[in-house]
Every structure is written in structure tokens, then in C-alpha cells.
Symmetry: C2
Subunit: 209 residues, 2 copies
């Protein structure tokens, strides 16, 4: 990242990420990664002590990228809009744009891959997965709470359950997307969720104007 030496490590991580998302972690051999990345075994084992170490570094690297993106998106939403509901809508729409980007269609979710092979990983790696998902939820929870506080919902809902719902919809959408070979499903789920939010909050928003 900072030095030139990081280039190769990041290149290996990026290649591994692509392969692991396509074939799973156990289904991806080190040789597969070497071949796809065009690096030697010496280079690989210079940066990673073992395949388990790759798993750990890969998840931490990917998690750091994601958390940065979540926070960037949240910061942009807050810079552009004052109203928490508008911030939320912006955030959700921005994510829809990101997930259905046609140049780099989403292959799925790294956390789902790790979750479904959790037995293969060290406990601390699984903890990173859970913590990243929690961090992601937390961004939603904060925003939902602000919205709920300002616009009493038509039905009593908690910020936590709404956050859990959108995360579930996205994770589930990514699975259906892969299974059906249709890259539009997750964004559609998010749109539908926004329509649900409209039902919940539109009445009291109208009343407050």
C-alpha cells in the first residue's frame, strides 16, 4: 500500500479474492492463485505464512475496504443531505448503484463465503466476519434511529430490526443473483425495502410538513 513491496501482496490478495468468491476458499488452491496472479510460490510464501494466514489477511483486507466504503457512503450522504430520511435514501440508492455496477458485477458476498466455510478458519477470522457485519449493521442502525426519532413510524419498529432486515435482504439477494444469473435482484430488493420504509415513515413525514 505504502511501499512498492505492498504491490505484490495486494495483487495476490485481489486475485485470491476473485477466485475465492468464484470457487470458495477450500476450492481455491494456492497454485490456482499463483497461476492467476502470475507470481511464484516464493513470492506467495514471502507474504503469507500459510493458506490459513492468507484466509486471515484476505478477510481483514477485504473487511477494511468494505468498512471504508460504508463510511465514505455515509459521510457523503450526510454531506449532501440534512434530513436523516433523505440521507438514508441516498445511502441505500448509492449502494444499489454500487452493487449493480455493470462494469464489475457483484460476484456475491465475501462474508457469506467465509460464513459457509467457517469450520476451516481460525476463530479470530470468524470474529472479523461477525464484527464487520455488525459494523455494517451499526451504520444502518444509527441512521434508522435518527429517522425513527424524527418521524414516528406507522408501526412500532426498532432500528436494529430494520438494519437486520436490509442486511438480510442484500445477503439473500446476492445468493439468488448468483443462483439465477440475474445481476439485478439485490438492487431490486433494496428498492422494495425503500418502498417499505416509505410506508412506515411517509405518513408522519407528511404530518411534519
Amino acid at each position: 500500500m505504502s511501499e512498492k513491496g505492498e504491490r505484490s501482496r495486494e495483487h495476490i490478495l485481489a486475485t485470491a479474492k476473485r477466485l475465492v468468491m468464484d470457487k470458495g476458499f477450500a476450492g481455491t488452491s494456492i497454485d490456482d492463485i499463483l497461476k492467476a496472479a502470475g507470481v511464484s510460490k516464493g513470492a506467495f510464501f514471502h507474504h503469507f505464512r500459510s493458506k490459513a494466514d492468507l484466509a486471515s489477511q484476505l478477510m481483514r483486507w477485504h473487511s477494511a475496504q468494505d468498512i471504508r466504503m460504508f463510511r465514505d457512503l455515509a459521510a457523503r450522504a450526510e454531506a449532501l443531505h440534512d434530513d436523516p430520511y433523505e440521507q438514508l435514501q441516498f445511502y441505500l440508492k448509492a449502494f444499489e448503484g454500487y452493487i449493480s455496477n455493470p462494469t464489475e458485477p457483484s460476484r456475491g458476498c465475501m462474508y457469506a463465503v467465509y460464513t459457509y466455510e467457517s469450520e476451516a478458519f481460525d476463530e479470530d477470522v470468524n470474529d472479523v466476519v461477525a464484527e464487520t457485519l455488525r459494523e455494517w449493521s451499526a451504520i444502518y442502525i444509527r441512521k434508522f434511529q435518527e429517522v425513527i426519532d424524527r418521524y414516528p413510524p406507522a408501526r412500532p419498529v426498532t432500528a436494529k430490526e430494520l438494519a437486520e432486515m436490509i442486511v438480510s435482504l442484500i445477503e439473500g439477494g446476492l445468493i439468488l443473483q448468483r443462483a439465477y444469473g440475474n445481476t439485478a435482484i439485490t438492487a431490486r430488493q433494496s428498492e422494495h425495502f425503500r418502498a417499505y420504509l416509505d410506508m412506515l415513515f411517509a405518513p408522519s413525514m407528511a404530518a411534519s410538513n
Copy 2:
């Protein structure tokens, strides 16, 4: 299933299913399955030509079980209730009971496992996954359509998008469930979805009485 010889095949399939759901397909070796099932290599390769053939038979076997369960649930719902909305509620609640069964807590979803390792499987196996998910959706779609026809929803929704939503919520919930080690999440998502349905249909149900 019918003959005694089927016992061993089914025993291998059931064992493989458990292991594959815990460790993924690539992460489960044939020897793992032999050891866990207490059968010999000869027995295994008598019933399955290769590991890929196991993958195929396992998915078809599992899919057949699931589809039978979906249809049984739907039939029971229709036997117990006349009103399509009550049938739907029964169906969803029954599934919640099944998924959060404490004696056999759900390890996740087989289709998700296969989806995230899809590169490893033959095209026809991936087709079985997609078709089973569609079959599952179709049961929801039929019921949602009946409900929509009888009770005009508060917001224009299609049966298809509602079906896609509950399937996504369940799939996503199963991931979060594994990641967090909390076996209650999927059932909670389903409950939340039922609350959403109430918002959609309760007004016109009240009007029709």
C-alpha cells in the same frame, strides 16, 4: 428408499449433507464422509461414480426432500384454513417453527452452499439449484397472488417481488445466523415480514369484513 440397498446410499447422502453444510463441498473429502458414515470406499463408489456425481445426487436428493416439505406445508395450510391470508400466515409460521427447531438447529441453506461453490459443479447441478429455488418461490407466488386478488394491498406490490423478498430474507437470515451464532435470526426476519404483510393487507381485510 424402497429396498434395503437404498439404506446405505441414503446414509451416505445424509452424512454428506451434514458435512457439506458444515464445511462446504470442496472442504469435505470423500474420506471424511466415509469416516463419518462408517462405510468403506467400495460402498461409496458403488453408489456414486465420482465426487461430482455425489454433488449431483446430493443436490437432487436434498431438493426432492425440500420440495416435498414445501408442498406438504402448503397442503396442510390449505386443509386447515379457507382464507388465503390465513393460509399464508400458517405457512410462514410453520416454516419459522421448522427453521428454529431447537433439536435440529438449521446449519444454513444447501442452495447457498452450492451457489457459492457453483464453479465446482456441472451446469445441470446448478440448474437443479435454480429450479428448486424457483419452485420454492412459486409456492409463495401462488399464495401471494390469491391474497392480492382478494385483499387489494395498501401499496401496489406484485406476488413475485413479495416471494423474492421472503426467500431473500430467509437466505440472508441463515447467513447472519451462522455468522453471529444466533439461531433465532431467520425466524425473526420471517416474523418481521409478516408484520409488513399486515401493513399491506390489514386495511383492505378490515374493509372486507
